[in-house]
Symmetry: C2
Subunit: 555 residues, 2 copies
């Protein structure tokens, strides 16, 4: 029973209307638990930004109340903000062994100093966090050891699927804990939060085993070396590659920093089973005949600095692509990476490789549930209220439509936004106000110091470059004693545009002269005169609008 009519609050701080920086607050009677702390990769217009993390002002304001941070699985969009969040918030972490192993690796990588209590949970299990009782429930996903959560509160049960699919034939034999979800549904769930990533996709998501079959077929046919690029965290995929290598009497080398990292962590923690001698160092494996070699590498997204891309561009120090190589890209391009991936494929073909990629069915499957699985989950849980999460707006909308189809009344479905407070009693739910939420941009060591003005400047600089106009003026007489000099970067290739620059200097001189004639001595006015005159002239001549920066020095 809830105390004195206390309400349960669910506040998404990230992951709503976006795929990335997942973070959800569950709050009751001043106690908070946080689900996930993820990062997002920058949008195209966020020039120079490395990563984006959620604005956690709300958590900082309520830091005494945060009883724990529960992590559903080890993907960057669920753990990537932890190094920043844990700087601000003292709270123990809860997660499965692999998840916390990856978190630990991440914290070490960022040279994180504080000691953070980490509670390893092995599902099925129930943990007490503050006054919340939290069930950890196994789900299938593109990384092992992913969980959904059931959070028991005095108002009712909140069920959060985490990222999930329902794989009936998972590689590790451990299917999602359908029985637990069914049991929860039977007893009654107040609110379901469920993964919307694939809410647009009809049918079922294929089993990871399908990819294993495809890999085996490719290994059977390949005559030369085999190079496979995939996501480092997809341990089951890696296991299947290793299995095929073993079956066809090949040895395996692992390439790429994140791939080596994750494979090591997974090996240490027992998530990969590798026959002795199967793995070899790159230098060693190079001595074997090509038909006995497999290389597992990063770069499935065509990332410019990744191992596969460097191989494709003939820039990798140790691996050179040669005719006869089979390259398998076992991944789909994440939206925004399509052109990078295509370019990598083209370069691999040019080097003479036989490249196998997404055009061929079965080289990759998604880790997220499609419509039939989403409806099944909704029907198992039978929640009173439904909140689609983990999706861009159209995904949330499609997921809401599925919920309507299986009979959840429209007024019990909430399409939320980051920062929106959802408030529930045992029999009612509503949108109730907002808390601070948003994007914090990380650029190098700077967290949040790059804002709209800086981004706007970067945008302008990127399009047409910059012209700097320097002039030195005598303090007493206001006469020009040096300059005007004009320096440009990113505007035109100066040696071929000397005449343009000469004319530009003349225009500046005229503008300065005009100011002097009109007895204008305010620097800001002089500067804006220079900027306007020069800007107009350059636009007429070139149809470009570089940034113009007049600098006046006084002596």
């Amino acid at each position: 029973m809830s105390k004195n009519g206390q309400k349960l609050q669910i506040i998404p701080l990230g992951g709503m209307g976006e795929i990335g920086k997942n973070m959800t607050v569950i709050q009751y009677d001043k106690e908070i638990i946080v689900i996930d702390s993820g990062l997002m990769f920058p949008e195209e217009e966020m020039l120079g930004i490395d990563v984006v993390i959620p604005d956690i002002t709300y958590l900082i304001e309520n830091k005494e109340n945060v009883k724990g941070i529960v992590i559903t699985h080890g993907h960057e969009d669920h753990i990537g903000a932890l190094p920043y969040v844990l700087q601000q918030i003292n709270a123990p972490l809860y997660g499965t062994k692999l998840t916390l192993g990856l978190v630990d690796g991440k914290l070490k990588e960022t040279k994180f100093k504080k000691s953070v209590p980490m509670n390893i949970v092995k599902p099925p299990a129930t943990v007490q966090i503050g006054s919340f009782t939290v069930d950890f429930i196994r789900v299938n996903h593109s990384i092992p050891d992913a969980v959904g959560l059931a959070i028991h509160t005095p108002v009712g049960v909140v069920c959060h699927t985490g990222d999930f699919k329902l794989d009936q034939t998972p590689v590790d034999g451990r299917i999602a804990d359908l029985h637990k979800f069914a049991e929860l549904g039977s007893k009654g769930v107040l609110v379901l939060l469920s993964d919307s990533t694939n809410a647009e996709r009809e049918g079922y998501t294929m089993s990871e085993k399908v990819v294993g079959t495809t890999i085996e077929e490719i290994f059977q046919k390949a005559a030369g070396r085999i190079i496979v690029a995939t996501f480092a965290s997809n341990i089951h995929r890696i296991q299947q590659i290793l299995d095929s290598a073993y079956k066809f009497n090949r040895k395996v080398a692992v390439v790429g920093r994140s791939m080596v990292n994750v494979v090591n962590i997974a090996l240490d923690l027992g998530y990969l089973s590798i026959p002795k001698g199967l793995l070899m160092e790159l230098d060693e494996i190079a001595r074997l005949p090509k038909e006995r070699v497999v290389i597992i590498t990063t770069g499935s997204q065509g990332e410019p600095m990744s191992a596969l891309t460097r191989m494709a561009m003939s820039e990798h120090k140790k691996v050179e692509i040669v005719p006869g190589d089979t390259v398998l890209i076992s991944a789909t391009p994440i939206p925004g990476n399509e052109k990078f991936v295509a370019r990598t494929i083209d370069h691999l073909f040019k080097q003479g490789a036989n490249v196998i990629y997404e055009a061929i069915s079965g080289v990759h499957v998604s880790g997220h549930a499609s419509q039939e699985e989403l409806k099944l989950m909704l029907n198992l849980i039978r929640p009173k209220f439904f909140v689609p999460v983990h999706g861009e707006y159209r995904h949330l909308i499609h997921h809401a439509q599925l919920a309507k189809q299986i009979g959840i009344p429209e007024e019990n479905i909430f399409i939320a936004e980051n920062g929106r407070v959802l408030e529930f009693s045992q029999d009612s739910g509503r949108m109730a106000g907002r808390v601070t939420a948003g994007k914090v941009l990380v650029d190098g060591l700077g967290v949040g110091d790059v804002g709209n003005i800086v981004l706007r400047d970067r945008k302008q600089l990127s399009q047409d470059g910059i012209l700097i106009v320097v002039v030195t003026i005598d303090k007493e007489t206001a006469e020009v004693v040096a300059g005007p000099d004009i320096i440009s970067r990113g505007f035109v290739y100066v040696r071929e545009s000397e005449e343009l620059m000469d004319q530009a200097r003349d225009k500046v001189r005229q503008a300065l002269k005009k100011c002097q004639d009109e007895d204008i001595s305010e620097w800001s006015t002089i500067k804006s005169q220079v900027r306007d005159t020069l800007g107009k002239y350059l636009f007429e001549q070139t149809r470009r609008r570089p940034m113009i920066l007049p600098i006046i020095m006084e002596v």
Copy 2:
């Protein structure tokens, strides 16, 4: 018969290993005809660039020999470079009525002054251009009036498909001229150049009529206003939208500059048949009940400034999206545009529209032949030599594999590059040297004045911005008389980083002092000292590498 063993040369100047800026030179006995003159949209790393056109140095060097430019159809990647090419080359144009109508519109738009002879050809037709006899052969494509070509030369026949698909039920009832291709094949074709865009796709490309059926179904169900975004040049698509509007008693307004332009040209030239009174002005149509309104608009690629995007963002002056609107995006995102399109869809959903897009089958079909059609074309033509064209490298490779499958010997298939000279006699073909070819970047009025240095600067500016360090030095004493001043743009938000900037100034002072102490007076050395010292400091503090521009003024 060929004169004195003269060889036929085929030289692609664009469109090989890329989709865009198509241009192919056919040369025999010093006579040249050029097929297409297209542009390409800039790659992501070509910051600030508007369009990319082929390097036509080779044509300029041989301008007296250019007998004509033949245009296969009116898409930008086939006509877009004409305003630049025709500045340099005097040659008559050949094309169908709609194609040359669109070229004419394009030249007017760019205020092109020269008069260019335009020869309208109505297929099936044969035209003499120099000593070449050129057949114009109807094909199906996503724009009406597209043609393939058969160029009869003394060495043999060169067949160029243009961009094509084989639509068995085209909207205008005019199927590709299979009989002509068959006849050419029977008589013997030396070289086939064929469209590789969809060489990765199995099966057949669906008929444009399929989209008509989908549109009709959507119109039947829609209760409120209907807004359809598609490619302006897809006249058959527009015809089908108009037909559905008429059938369901709706009126139509056309929005977006390029849409209005193309619809007007197509209307003038008789490519659209519109019942009187069906088209209305936007202001007028706004007075009708919503269920009687259709708006056809640009913006199917989520282009930031397009009409649909502005509607989605509530920034369009005349059209506001309201709940009840049905928005149909009848197009697939061109690679690179996926995120823009997704964002537009999300915003439309947020405004309350029912958005129908590519997730639903039949809202769009491709204009390019899939594998079965490509093989059919190869089998109809039965060329001695085959050159896959119009594709990125992997498309050319896949197309080559199809040609092998239907029995063309591998040594008779040429994967060419831009600038590669292909040389043919009656019974032999080979790669024979290279001519100048490449990308010319157009930025505003500048054609080719933005090169690698400027792009590299724009890249650096876009990532971490710029710091300008200005110092004024006394000519005689080499003492600093003003500054150092530091101005930054796109680096950090200065007001929040005053301490950093103070420290930076100190570092510059130290560097200057050190130079003075060591009696270094060469400006270049002083500048590089300042750059190094400051760069190192800023990287330590921020992990960013802004451009640093030291400027020394002398008085």
